[in-house]
Symmetry: C2
Subunit: 410 residues, 2 copies
Amino acid sequence: MVPPDSYADEPWRDRCLANYIVRGKEPFNAEARTDTLVDSFVTPTELHFRRNHGPIPRLDDQEWSMAVEVCVDAAAPVRRCSRVVRKCDLARLPQFEVVAVLECAGNRRDGLKAIKPVDGVTWGAGTASNARWAGCRLRDLLAAAGVPTDLCDPFYAAPRHVEFAAYGDAVEDEHYASSIPLEWVMNPRNMVLVATAMNGAPLLRDHGFPARIVAPGIIGARWVKWLKRIRVQDRESDSFYQKRDYKILPPEAGRANCAGFWPRFPALMELNVQSAICRPAADECLQVGRPYLAKGYALTGAGRAVDRVEVSLDDGETWALADVCAMHEGAAAAAGGERNWAARDWSWVLWSFRIDSVPQGCAIACRAWDSGGNTQPTSAIWNYRGVMNNAVFRVSPPTVASGAAPASRL
Amino acid sequence: MVPPDSYADEPWRDRCLANYIVRGKEPFNAEARTDTLVDSFVTPTELHFRRNHGPIPRLDDQEWSMAVEVCVDAAAPVRRCSRVVRKCDLARLPQFEVVAVLECAGNRRDGLKAIKPVDGVTWGAGTASNARWAGCRLRDLLAAAGVPTDLCDPFYAAPRHVEFAAYGDAVEDEHYASSIPLEWVMNPRNMVLVATAMNGAPLLRDHGFPARIVAPGIIGARWVKWLKRIRVQDRESDSFYQKRDYKILPPEAGRANCAGFWPRFPALMELNVQSAICRPAADECLQVGRPYLAKGYALTGAGRAVDRVEVSLDDGETWALADVCAMHEGAAAAAGGERNWAARDWSWVLWSFRIDSVPQGCAIACRAWDSGGNTQPTSAIWNYRGVMNNAVFRVSPPTVASGAAPASRL
């Protein structure tokens, strides 16, 4: 819960505001214009969306510490441990870097709000972006706290979870907290980091300074910022953000009756397959008869690969392959001494598609396919919290007759 | 390639033929009527579909052996090893049992053939079924051959694959062979077995006697039968069934131009989210105004969970939750001394949905959602080989006025 005047110490954001569509000031929520996202594979920090559930805590790099706790009663012998971890402790562990896309589960919520009201901040397709994240692996930090690295260990016979709690206040709960399954963290195929840097610089306050979770392939809500405590436990986080948000409830669940549905459906984890057309933007004017290079992004979850992106110019009747600029295998480069033994697909891909001659009444649609045989639904499927909308992306930009002066941006 | 008279020694199948819709006699390909599949969570062996690419080899349990080879040149030190493995060697390893659904990637190909011709056997929704598979873990067999069990080992720095080759002839290649990534096999979260038993009995010849691969969460084409050789290598299998089949090619690829597309798209591995209505069958006559209990199955890939199944009676306008009889966590019970440390969702789920009053012109649709945030496409998306069709399942059974004698099966 957020006391009065809590937003008096927000970061200074004036210089970057021009890059954003601001969706809320307190808490500060802003997304990039999607047409700015396709210029670079690694999104510049100043274009990276900002998603908050409360005021930004002010933490001091040198004073900062977090608790790392293991509270597992069911294991024999009972494992309990608690230690204080500072920046210098993180720096002593092997350092890794991973290029990974961060996507909010509410990305493209606007498409669901267009069907029926939903509970949640309005977002276009600008709450996804790719960054170079660096820090130590959470796996190594937990191993140092006594958590077994061998996934065959009887410790893993029962479900275990890692809860992340943040400094600062939050709107819907005492503070922000969330959890993911422990085995996901301890699996060396995955790359969950306690990140201290983004795109080669210390994290901005808006992005979790001084340390945040980076959980590639998983929804942004689990990438907890301003880390205060990491705890291995027998159950999921009891937080609002784990239990009463970030779930796909069935269509019959709404505000009035959602209470009965929350416990019946699981907390979201993996991202689903997603794509968006970034150029043309919805307000970009195209010239009829001229060629145009459409561009966008595509991504998917859990380390799966985007196998292809397709574009349709006839409302989904026929589809043609887009050119994909992928960064498979090499995407997650190792910064430390240890080799990143088996890179999976944690990045987004950018794609382009040449329209030889822009038609009158141009309508462009895109969809991606991933290595799980999944593609995007033809139309959006409403759910109460407006999460995980990955419907086929459509844009119908205005057109002018060729030769006419192009209209300026609306 | 199959010499003449190769089908002279097929198993005796007369007794079970009544259970099947036979799609091809040489090779023998047959699926269950789907209305027979929903009576038991574990499908009886005599209802389990049979899918072959050639004649059934006759192998002797006691004489049988397979080669286990490690041929990895890139590793330092170079790892090369070859050994002969017999039934008694498999029996000496810890024994496991897993309840897992086997689905052919061509399941529901009929829905794609209805759009445009495709290359492949016609299948309805009867090429999916659940069984109790037992044997040793492939992981343990490979570990005994010197493959590192630690996924952080530098051995895994480069991609490795495990190729499975079968005894016997095949129609499209010299023999049947296929591969999956080694790290999938060595990950203790997964349960790839060298199975020797199905539903508590030795494998039938049609199901791979005396030993086959069971790779839960992965398409049936990788569950190679009649094992002749298992080989760890640096690349995928060069087999027809890996390189020129079992891929989702883009819509523009067809028989005339597919050669250029095969190398550009990856071999299928994970199953996608799928569901089918088994009752009513398409030819079952319902009584208008009476209640009816619809039933079906749902499944997904890679260990993900089926989070829910929904049914629509108004052509997808509205959806309501079906009752799901799941077998989470406990589904993969351990038969051996070692605990199956962390069960994932390898089984299908069966579901039911009560229609209170069957309407005139009854049309029923179902779709499932999985823990990756995926659901099924509204309509089928054609591809040249007709694989991975997981469109929303629809059935419009005939109806009679209530009170009239129900029509017998057509």
